[in-house]
């Protein structure tokens, strides 16, 4: 009875737990529980603790260059400054960029960054295809209202083939799963040795940076062919390539210990990989809009709109899948670091 009286109410504790960043939940909740004297006292303590812990976590783990590049990408995709001739007005885009960046920071703080299970991954593919079919039916439904053009029935027939994108998505998703399973197995082999693990991680990151920066430069030069005229997207690609090269060349200054340095590198890498997943997808998304969706609407051909929107949904699914696998592997490294000997 006395123990129950000195335990925070479950609902209150659940609410505080949701507000705390994931890495801090165990210890901070336990501390608050240990000093619990009553619900109002608990609320006062939580109010004095949670904002500082959350703000400190966000600040420590923010990769500002990656966030800046992310903001630039969102700005471009929404047509900021009307660079590509279509898009929202500038204040709306600015608001969307700010909201997008805030969402990214919050997702990293509070999101479940573990690797998705195989079942969840395949369910995601099924949901994606369901969305594709809905979009196509919607497009054709609207088109049906103002039927015109001799090839309407042919186009409607072609629509029936779209659900076959499911096996393709399923195969690609499975491939990503298997690849990250192999990496996770390599990671789990052997005991944790901080210096060795940090060295191996840094070497892998440097190798990846060289290869990826070369790819980014090539894609940046080819981006106008896919995404249309305009310098924003190529500029983002080239600046990102320069950032990756700078990471390899410059040594970080600061007074961090090895554990702090490794932890910060993992968090920064997670944010950067999130941005890169969507950066690689951006030219393909713009190409789908430019070559299929917009011409489809302009010429009244629903099949083009359907193909374009199906491509967009599928590309987003794959970009999200690649991002979640990478984030999950980095999270596993973080968990090994936290659980490793002090």
């Amino acid at each position: 009875m006395e123990d129950a009286a000195l335990t925070p109410p479950a609902l209150l504790e659940w609410a505080v737990e949701r507000l705390l960043p994931v890495p801090a939940r165990e210890s901070v909740l336990g501390d608050l529980s240990e000093v619990y004297r009553g619900p109002w006292q608990y609320l006062r303590e939580a109010a004095a603790t949670v904002p500082r812990v959350a703000a400190g976590h966000a600040w420590r783990n923010a990769n500002f260059p990656a966030l800046g590049l992310n903001g630039a990408l969102i700005w471009f995709c929404l047509g900021g400054l009307r660079a590509n001739g279509r898009g929202l007005d500038t204040p709306t885009v600015a608001l969307a960029v700010a909201a997008g960046l805030a969402a990214l920071i919050l997702i990293q703080m509070y999101g479940d960054a573990g690797r998705p299970s195989g079942a969840r991954a395949i369910k995601g593919a099924i949901w994606t295809v369901g969305l594709v079919v809905l979009l196509c039916v919607w497009n054709f439904g609207l088109r049906y209202q103002r039927i015109g053009g001799g090839d309407y029935l042919l186009e409607f027939g072609m629509l029936q083939a779209l659900p076959f994108v499911l096996p393709v998505l399923g195969l690609l998703r499975t491939g990503l799963l298997l690849q990250s399973d192999r990496q996770a197995e390599r990671l789990a082999d052997g005991s944790f040795a901080l210096e060795d693990e940090h060295r191996a991680f840094s070497a892998a990151v440097r190798r990846g940076n060289w290869i990826e920066s070369a790819g980014l430069i090539a894609t940046g030069c080819a981006a106008p062919a896919l995404a249309g005229p305009g310098l924003w997207l190529p500029a983002i690609f080239l600046v990102t390539a320069a950032y990756l090269l700078a990471q390899n060349i410059l040594r970080p200054a600061g007074d961090e210990g090895l554990r702090g340095c490794y932890r910060r590198q993992l968090q920064a890498r997670r944010q950067l990989r999130h941005f890169l997943s969507w950066l690689w997808a951006a030219p393909l998304l713009m190409a789908a809009c430019r070559l299929l969706v917009w011409p489809g609407y302009e010429s009244g051909r629903a099949i083009l709109v359907s193909l374009g929107s199906s491509a967009i949904v599928s590309i987003c699914f794959l970009a999200r899948a690649a991002d979640s696998e990478c984030a999950g592997l980095l999270r596993e490294r973080m968990a090994r670091l936290e659980a490793g000997p002090a």
Binding site: V28, G30, S33, G257, R263, A342
Partner: protein
């Protein structure tokens, strides 16, 4: 000459608290000791956690999770201890404080400590 790690006043208090607590340095006890050392100024728990994280990033502290504890709702404690670099930084801060005290005492012809209660 080895590079010195500069500690802020509050960081010195937190490190001093951890040093004085020995093996019993975790969130609750560290906060209580910091409140004692900073009296009469109040110190929030959040400020202590933020400073602990910062010091750990600098490599001055190490932390680890204990076994789950029944009185904490089955949750583990995060214990902290000073690393060698943390001890060195604290020693340097103490020596700097001592030099400052001696300088002020000479300039003001003595310096009486006023006990805060």
């Amino acid at each position: 000459m080895p590079e010195q790690t500069l500690l802020g006043p509050f960081e010195q208090v937190v490190l001093g608290a951890i040093l004085s607590l020995g093996k019993n340095a975790y969130g609750v006890t560290i906060h209580a000791r910091v409140v004692e050392l900073s009296a009469p100024r109040g110190v929030t728990r959040g400020a202590v956690y933020a400073t602990l994280d910062r010091l750990e990033d600098k490599g001055l502290l190490a932390s680890w999770l204990s076994e789950p504890s029944k009185e904490r709702g089955g949750r583990a404690r995060r214990y902290y201890r000073l690393e060698k670099s943390g001890e060195q930084a604290l020693r340097e801060s103490a020596e700097a404080a001592k030099r400052l005290y001696e300088t002020l005492a000479r300039s003001w012809k003595g310096l009486a400590w006023k006990t805060q209660r």
